[in-house]
Symmetry: C2
Subunit: 406 residues, 2 copies
């Protein structure tokens, strides 16, 4: 029965090929998990979301499904950013609606000292490797990848078209752009694009020595753009690549990158889902756990003509458009409160800095406060301040005038 | 040739079984990657570390290889904590020396809204799933898993023995215990063990509504232990499980968990590698990006007798033992400084809170500072303060006295 043997041998060859395939393929090749049921049990992610909604933190979490976010740079910060946005569960579905990833690097073993990528992905393009992992974690998120450098003239046009037309609805812009790049040229490119198209974006960065980071929310015309107060390297038109030293690349800590990504996504969520207070600028110094906050107003002498246009538009508006905040009820988390515990709001006692000396005398002698609540009015831009009390804010002009007078 | 057919069929059965095995096994089954070379090129993680050392942030990063860290709870915070410690690269080797993982839960699909675990791991024990992924990322880290609940009487003894004898050298204690659990009973268990064995540990937590978190560094006898100022549930001896409501589990955000894990590991690294300032307590409020810091002194009426013993020992020491800080040179990152840029230290102008009013008058009229540097002396425990200026610190007794006088 040679035909039977042939058949069996063919079957063996096929099985061997399939086995080889399984061995070399990455975990993405496995079957997608089935869509999670809507049952409310502890093993179901939806109950987590019901919890967030019952706690009145966010009125309608599900809106995250209607949001498209572009992430430029899928490295130490960008990959964790994408991971977090993919894992945000909503009431009935999960994850952000659409992620658009831009990068032109490949995964290297040197990237293993950041989170997210795994050694088996070395050699793959970062966007492709990220897309596979993210789709495996959550098949509900639509992922679009762009494997090119956005700073070349041709690619800039492609980038501009993508962020303007690849939103949740075709032809609509994305809801937010997140910059997770590691160089000024790419930041200036994102800045130019978002100024031109009037798109809101967050800039982020980790310092060369890996022990500090920051995020900055840029709303064209409303807050300072990246060109309003450019780093000296940019202002002096120096090729930043000449600053990199032979054989030494920037330091890297997964901790600092993870924290920066966390602060970035948390503030992006607050903006997209309209809860809490979005920080305009938030810094992080790892050495002493110091987190400065501030707001920078636009520079009326900005070199970017689209920034000046956006500033004019912003000034021309009768009142800055501020979205209606969600109503957050004061209902306690636990309906019964047998012990009569009272929570005091952290931001309620907003004292003027000039009256601090007086305040501190109210503390019993020999004691001082462990910490003070953040002063809302110094750190947050309010519509009132923008309209009438501009002098009380730190504007670039004021700062420059102050510097000149030194 | 029925024997040949039998043989071929047996081979097919074997191949099918192997194929099934490959399909179901996780990615850990793949070959370990080769040890990375020591070449200093951009694609090599060691150059990242050389960077950190050249920048004088840490004198000898490689010491992380000599550290053993126990992580209790491998959930939303603990898994990311383990991931970060696994990916810390050192000069010649990489990752923490040894990780000891404690948990008794299984991975569930509901955990996908936290970072780290992937859907294919559902059903595996958390410690086993974590160990596989971490070994795959970095085979150099020794990983020991304990799949049991530490709060039972028998397991408590096993836990106590493990943290006391499973250090880098057999018979030596671990260098640090990190608590990433989600209930008070487990926290009290870790507290009792670390008080008894005089081990330093960090407590961490994320609030039920997922929008705040904290870390706390507990050094028995030196700072308040978990029993010194217990939550009411613990103080009143209430079964916390009765507080959990049917069908509702705690809310969860990968952002808050990632940030809490990042702050935890960053402070653990500062302690283990002796750089920067370790925060005794650091809070995080996601809604307004507020990060309170403080130090709590031990309660002389603490219910834990080992805590009282540790307090006596601490008081009896002629001077608190403070490790010598690494010398951090003031050498600039870039040797050439053509533009004469000067960096002003953030913690240098430590002003007394009573002199703030005077200070603020130095700012040009109409301006105010965007932010103030943190006041070192209110937030950090110094040996001087502990020795002679205890009254200036917030102690539980002072606070209680103050509360009574209200």
């Amino acid at each position: 029965m040679p035909s039977a043997i042939d058949e069996l041998q063919a079957m063996i060859a096929e099985l061997k090929a399939e086995l080889e395939d399984q061995k070399t393929t990455n975990r993405h090749a496995r079957d997608r998990i089935e869509r999670m049921s809507a049952e409310v049990v502890d093993s179901n992610p939806y109950s987590r979301l019901m919890a967030l909604q019952r706690m009145n933190i966010v009125k309608d979490y599900e809106r995250i499904r209607d949001k498209a976010v572009a992430i430029v740079g899928v490295g130490g910060v960008g990959s964790v950013t994408a991971d977090m946005l993919t894992r945000i569960y909503t009431f009935k579905r999960c994850g952000v609606g659409k992620l658009i990833l831009f990068d032109y690097d490949k995964v290297e073993l040197a990237n293993m000292n950041r989170l997210f990528f795994t050694p088996d992905q070395a050699g793959l393009s970062k966007v492709e490797a990220a897309a596979r992992t993210l789709s495996f974690i959550n098949p509900d998120v639509r992922i679009e990848t762009h494997n090119y450098n956005i700073t070349t003239v041709d690619n800039f046009d492609k980038f501009l078209t993508t962020i303007t037309e690849s939103g949740i609805q075709a032809g609509q812009p994305v809801d937010l752009v997140l910059s997770c790049v590691d160089n000024f040229e790419a930041r200036m490119t994102i800045n130019a694009a978002c100024n031109e198209k009037n798109l809101f974006w967050f800039e982020s960065g980790v310092s060369e020595n890996a022990v500090s980071g920051h995020i900055q929310f840029i709303r064209p015309g409303d807050t300072a753009c990246f060109a309003c107060a450019p780093p000296l390297v940019v202002a002096e038109n120096i090729d930043e690549r000449t600053l990199k030293r032979e054989g030494v690349c920037a330091a890297s800590l997964p901790t600092t990158m993870g924290i920066t990504a966390g602060l970035l996504v948390q503030n992006a969520l607050k903006y997209l889902l309209n809860f809490g207070e979005v920080s305009d600028y938030l810094g992080y110094n790892a050495l002493n756990d110091f987190f400065p906050k501030m707001t920078l107003r636009p520079n009326t002498q900005c070199d970017d003509r689209h920034c000046l246009l956006r500033q004019q538009e912003f000034q021309a508006r009768p009142k800055p458009v501020v979205e209606q905040k969600e109503e957050v009820s004061d209902e306690p988390v636990h309906a019964s409160n047998d012990w009569g515990i009272e929570l005091v709001s952290e931001d309620a006692p907003a004292t003027e800095s000039t009256s601090k000396a007086t305040d501190s005398t109210q503390v019993t002698a020999g004691l001082r406060l462990a910490y003070e609540a953040p002063e809302k009015e110094t750190t947050q831009a309010t519509p009132q301040a923008a309209a009438g009390e501009a002098a009380a804010e730190v504007s670039l002009e004021d700062l420059m005038a102050q510097m000149k007078s030194m």
